[in-house]
């Protein structure tokens, strides 16, 4: 019981996503942050207000953190199909001095 609970907590903290999700996360990080930087500079330059640049940049960065960091369900759309396990007891038996150990 306690083990199961601990595993769940670990799962939530680690927040693992699948391979397709990782590709998506990488793409989102690069895209959203680059766009944020470009928009921040252009907005500030056109309106001649450097504070606008600062807050646009920081806001966009916060948005990126929000989108990318938590393990959202859309990062887990392609779970990996593992091969079925070989044999019933894990497929490995170890013998020491003619006696079965495991």
């Amino acid at each position: 019981m306690a083990d199961q609970l601990l595993e769940k907590v670990q799962d939530v903290l680690e927040g693992q996503i699948d391979f397709e999700g990782q590709r998506l996360a990488e793409l989102l990080t690069t895209g959203v942050l680059s766009a944020t930087g470009a928009i921040a500079f252009i907005l500030g330059f056109v309106l001649q207000d450097i504070r606008l640049s600062l807050w646009t940049g920081l806001g966009g960065t916060a948005l990126t953190f929000l989108i990318v960091v938590p393990p959202w369900p859309f990062f887990k759309q392609h779970p990996l199909q593992w091969l079925p396990a070989q044999g019933q007891t894990g497929g490995i038996s170890i013998e020491v001095d003619g006696k079965k150990v495991s």
Binding site: A25, L33, A40, S53, G57, T61
Partner: protein, 268 residues
């Protein structure tokens, strides 16, 4: 990118890169912001008196007290990336021997903050525009808005204070110096061929410190004017040496302008 921690690290790492690039672009954007500063500076009055460099000094030196008129429009220096402009006036005078470079000494300075800079006690406070009612802007500041509300004329303009606050317009007449100048030898009377010059440092939010430019550089026009006609330091004023025995020097007869930075550490 497969755990929360690696995603956090990746996003933050790329954020620093993007921030760095944006900062570089902002710093470079200064070059395409046109500048066209102009100024006229005139010597108003000059006196040379004997005095002590500080109260406990036994050395008595000659000090030049230079009053000046300054009319300047450097509002074009306040671009989107300008934090503040440090404006200062130097007196340049030749050294006693001809093969040495001329001496320069600062007689007055001011920190002109841009619109978005938070208030600080060391910043220059533009004088109220009593003498020239035509100047609608440039003589307002955030801190003296309260004291000006007595006169009805400035009260009406106080509402638009932040909107048309223009720190780059200065019109000073018979301005007292902040610093009285001397030479290392303590002799400055009767020197000839001195000039007053306006100089500045533009301090940006991001990027490089820019100094006075008198030559055109791309979209930046050089400073027009900003240099006085050459003048001579007068002979030593005798009335200043009256109190030589008592040890009271120039302090009574000549007053320097106190800069706002002299308030440092004291409550307003």
């Amino acid at each position: 990118m497969h755990t929360t921690l690696t995603r956090l690290q990746n996003v933050f790492g790329f954020f620093t890169t993007v921030a760095c690039f944006v900062a570089v672009f902002i710093a470079l954007s200064v070059v395409v912001t046109p500048q066209a500063p102009s100024a006229s500076i005139k010597l108003q009055n000059i006196q040379v008196v004997k005095g002590r460099p500080h109260y406990y000094s036994t050395k008595r030196a000659e000090f030049a007290h230079i009053r000046f008129d300054l009319d300047t429009d450097i509002s074009s220096l306040f671009g989107w990336n300008t934090k503040q402009v440090f404006l200062y006036i130097t007196a340049t005078f030749p050294s006693s021997s001809t093969n040495e470079p001329p001496s320069q000494a600062v007689i007055w300075d001011a920190i002109l903050p841009s619109k978005y800079e938070p208030w600080h006690e060391n910043q220059y406070i533009h004088p109220p525009s009593a003498s020239s009612p035509s100047s609608s802007s440039g003589t307002k500041s955030k801190s003296n808005a309260k004291s000006k509300s007595k006169s009805s004329k400035s009260k009406s303009s106080a509402s638009t204070d932040a909107a048309d606050y223009n720190p780059g317009l200065l019109s000073l007449s018979a301005q007292r110096p902040k610093y009285q100048i001397t030479t290392p030898a303590g002799r400055i009377a009767s020197l000839s061929n001195a000039t007053l010059e306006l100089n500045w440092n533009i301090q940006p939010w991001v990027g490089a410190l820019v100094w006075t430019n008198r030559a055109d550089f791309g979209l930046w026009k050089g400073l027009k004017g900003g240099r006085s006609k050459s003048f001579d330091f007068p002979a030593l004023k005798e009335s200043g040496s009256k109190g030589a025995g008592a040890g009271t020097g120039k302090k009574e007869d000549l007053k320097t302008e106190k800069g706002a930075e002299s308030n440092r550490g004291k409550p307003a």
